[in-house]
Symmetry: C2
Subunit: 197 residues, 2 copies
């Protein structure tokens, strides 16, 4: 009632959507991934820095490099998922700022010279983009199964050997199977999460 | 074409939406904020940990405590915004896990005992939730003006003196004015952000 977003879209993105733990065999196409990216790339990040990087594990070989680095309970569902993506932050995202934020030409060197501060800013904006990505997968009519249960250091070494990227979330993507969803867990009440001053 | 989300919803959330820098005088109601929260609380976080906390600055007094802690270019737009929220992470979010993740009763002490690891996990999931929040504001037919240009340590001290919360993003919320939007900045091409293995 207080929302402008139509009910079907609310259901698709939030109300009927769930984290999926199993999927049908229907493949996720390159066109679908491109449509997801072209939608979510528009949502905001600090200084338009857009530090999220997506590594799609399309080949069996690529997925097999990941499986042993996942916590055991995440392996079978990932092995069976039509598509798995590693979502990471580019720790040198500032190199793209001359393209992404041309309005302040020197920003790359002024605001993001310090690697620790840059990493902190990058992880935060990449976190926002991971939120957008999950909703983008749902916007494509698919289900997402995001996971943080993996050995992040080992994933970085295996997939990002140059140290430039840091894995944050692994996400399975596909059409949910009939048994994909666990029951919805409780959420915090408004008063637990929101303070009015 | 590859998306299930209808075109009006795509426009509302992503394509026609922009970060807003000025707003009309129309107030943002408590009902709107509640509707936004009740929608976005459903989207996923690690272990359903839901670490985002929202501090709404409703009173003039509350907003005046924030203004001097913002970088100068963010002050006037925030002073004039109908509503401003501080989005923070609860660094002791694990205390809510017995409610939020009852399926693993001991999780609070097993996975999140270490404060540094807990903070890292909390910031990441709060980051996802900030992404959901921005889109939730847009779902309410409003515009969001998220900002990271503020003295985070000073905001924590002023608003979260007990050290329990850490401010991540400040966001102005309202109906956008006719001059609210800057031109859209470039985004990374698909090939710059996505790697296929």
């Amino acid at each position: 009632m207080s929302l402008a977003l139509d009910a079907a879209a609310q259901d698709l993105l939030f109300r009927r959507a769930h984290t999926a733990r199993s999927f049908t065999d229907e493949p996720v196409t390159d066109e679908q991934v491109r449509a997801i990216y072209d939608l979510i790339k528009l949502a905001p990040t600090a200084h338009n820095s857009s530090p999220l990087r997506v590594t799609l594990l399309r080949s069996t070989e690529a997925k097999e490099r990941l499986l042993p680095l996942l916590s055991e309970k995440n392996r079978a569902q990932t092995a069976a998922a039509p598509l798995t993506a590693i979502l990471s932050v580019d720790l040198r995202f500032h190199e793209k700022l001359p393209k992404l934020f041309p309005v302040v030409p020197g920003l790359k060197d002024v605001a993001y010279a310090d690697p620790a501060g840059r990493a902190e800013a990058g992880v935060l904006s990449a976190g926002l983009q991971i939120g957008y990505f999950v909703l983008g997968v749902r916007a494509a009519g698919l289900a997402a199964g995001p996971m943080t249960g993996f050995d992040a250091g080992a994933v970085d070494k295996e997939f990002f050997g140059d140290g430039r990227q840091k894995a944050l979330v692994v996400v399975n993507i596909g059409r949910p199977s009939a048994t994909a969803y666990n029951p919805r867990l409780p959420r915090l009440d408004f008063e637990e999460a929101v303070t009015v001053l």
